[in-house]
Subunit: 356 residues, 2 copies
């Protein structure tokens, strides 16, 4: 996707070419996947002015064929061949955060006098603005994710442990032919105080229960959180939940094209007042091919809200060894407005697990 | 695990300390996980002569507590604090293949005159030899994986598509409270010719069907492949299957402590004779916390077979646009012998999916 836009940026920045690579068989390079529609192992070579191509191993030939990119097979002397195809290179784009000192040595051999410049930022900026095609998929993904999480909340009487909830969500993913976009959080009792809690096999406890859930559908992620209540909440608990909910709603209502994400985040913190110390993470993050990507919806984020962006709004409060609350929706900027992709009620809901 | 052995190696190599890190919230640094029992985000600092410690963000405090390591919270000036705790450092161990040029700059600021040396090899060598505790888990994992794959083959009449087989395996994982260790391969018709084929939703076809399956249980992976036949194989097909099976069995029988992996791999290639060109990957790979790890069971691997190693033996033949066959077992070296952890029959089995 947007490989021509990427080449344009290379020319604007005076780069002769960029090389992206993936050396890990168990993982993908998401920037390479995005630009070349290729999730495999190997190299993506993007000259600024000529046709880009892949260098792929025989093992990943199916991916290479599906990518519809030109490709050659990965053989021992591939780096030399790449250099020959590129010709003279003074400035070479690489992904500096992923560019290991080891790889640098290898590249240096071929591109002796070239200057290596980071291009991850360029690609991540391109990825930040979703195309119509991507938006269509993200909307479908949000619909499926919403249905799964809603049916999970409706089925609460069948669950006895956090693991039961987690497994229900995983099985629903399989039934819907989608993948989990991360390891879901299901946290009850004092566990929601830890935002990254791992579900356990103990009986669900009275109090807030945080469910952080997301799917990957046709390569695109969703990320949604709902907090329900097991038993009956105290007045104080209801008040704190309502505070988080209002901060979340107000944050969504404040979204305007051109506004900086730091302002949205900062305002949410202000609204938390004395509780702001209990809000220990960012207000949100971009979501797309990765469950966490640009833009940063956070303090210090100078990025401005722009048409085509997709990101979470997820304020939360965490009281160590007591409880935690988080409410998270996925927001898309479409036709100049914030469209909430998450159609799951947010009012505090009490649930009764098995045995309650 | 083995953090003391790691410190001993640091001293032997004249290193003052090592720093491992994980900057990606969605992934773990497996070497750090292994040494510190910490799968979170942050830093592991291992002085050669003093107690090691973690620097962990508040978000991952649950992991930090479970690790039983000393830890401090990740704050803005953490690099300076690490430097102060370490004192004078002339030689600093890092994971060079994961050490980005970006991180190098950041480390350089604190450790101005230090030499950075790779320590990934040391850790991967430690991981290669499994402890009794690890072996116990790996055996349990193999048992569960074997039961799931066997029941999948027994249930073949209920499957219509590759995706049905794949989903059955995923659901069985959930029922058994284990995770997939990779994206399973289910390939029928001409698809097994691609070792990394992605399961599709078309009806299963006559011919070989390759199922490459693995689970992660208590942090440890298994990786097993069986090839079944849909319909009735021709004489030629049975012959080729038998060849792969014999090469696989002979490779296992040849395993002796002290023998180089390159010899085992080379011998398998020799036994394939004219077909060896169709054997397009290594004979196997180590398996443990990662589904692919050291040792390399491959051409050029000078590593010698050693007590406590765990690895796959998985010869395969691939005939593009026609068919493919692979048979893979997990082998453990225990009490001087090769113990086959995979208790699933390997003789060619014909199966009838739904509609056949």
């Amino acid at each position: 996707m947007k490989i021509k836009e990427f080449q344009l940026k290379l020319r604007e920045r005076g780069l002769d070419a960029a090389i992206l690579y993936n050396m890990e068989t168990n993982r993908e390079n998401v920037n390479m996947h995005y630009l070349a529609n290729y999730p495999g192992y190997g190299f993506l070579v993007v000259p600024a002015k000529k046709a880009p191509f892949l260098v792929a191993p025989l093992l990943d030939i199916e991916y290479a064929l599906k990518s519809r990119m030109r490709f050659s097979l990965l053989k021992k002397d591939f780096m030399e061949k790449i250099r020959k195809k590129l010709g003279k290179v003074s400035k070479l784009g690489v992904e500096l955060r992923k560019f290991s000192v080891f790889a640098q040595k290898r590249f240096r051999k071929q591109f002796k006098n070239a200057k290596f410049e980071d291009v991850s930022g360029i690609i991540e900026e391109l990825r930040m603005i979703k195309t119509k095609e991507e938006i269509k998929i993200i909307k479908e993904a949000s619909k499926i994710a919403g249905e799964i999480l809603s049916s999970c909340i409706k089925n609460f009487r069948n669950f006895k442990t956090e693991r039961d909830v987690y497994n229900f969500l995983r099985i629903e993913c399989i039934k819907n032919n989608v993948e989990p976009s991360f390891d879901f959080v299901v946290a009850s009792g004092i566990n929601p105080a830890t935002p990254h809690h791992v579900p356990n096999e103990k009986p669900l406890k009275k109090g807030f229960c945080v469910i952080d859930f997301g799917i990957r559908y046709k390569g695109y992620c969703t990320d949604v959180t709902r907090t329900v209540y097991i038993g009956r909440p105290s007045k104080k608990e209801t008040e704190i939940y309502t505070l988080v909910l209002n901060v979340q709603k107000n944050a969504i209502n404040r979204i305007r094209i051109g506004e900086k994400f730091s302002e949205i985040d900062g305002n949410a913190r202000k609204e938390f007042g004395n509780y702001s110390k209990k809000f220990i993470h960012s207000l949100g993050h971009g979501v797309g091919m990765e469950v966490h990507e640009s833009p940063a919806v956070a303090q210090g984020s100078e990025t401005k809200i722009t048409e085509g962006m997709c990101f979470t709004i997820e304020p939360g409060l965490y009281f160590p060894l007591r409880f935690g609350i988080r409410i998270e929706d996925d927001i898309l900027i479409e036709n100049g407005r914030a469209v909430n992709l998450t159609a799951i009620p947010k009012e505090l809901r009490t649930v009764k697990p098995k045995g309650f």
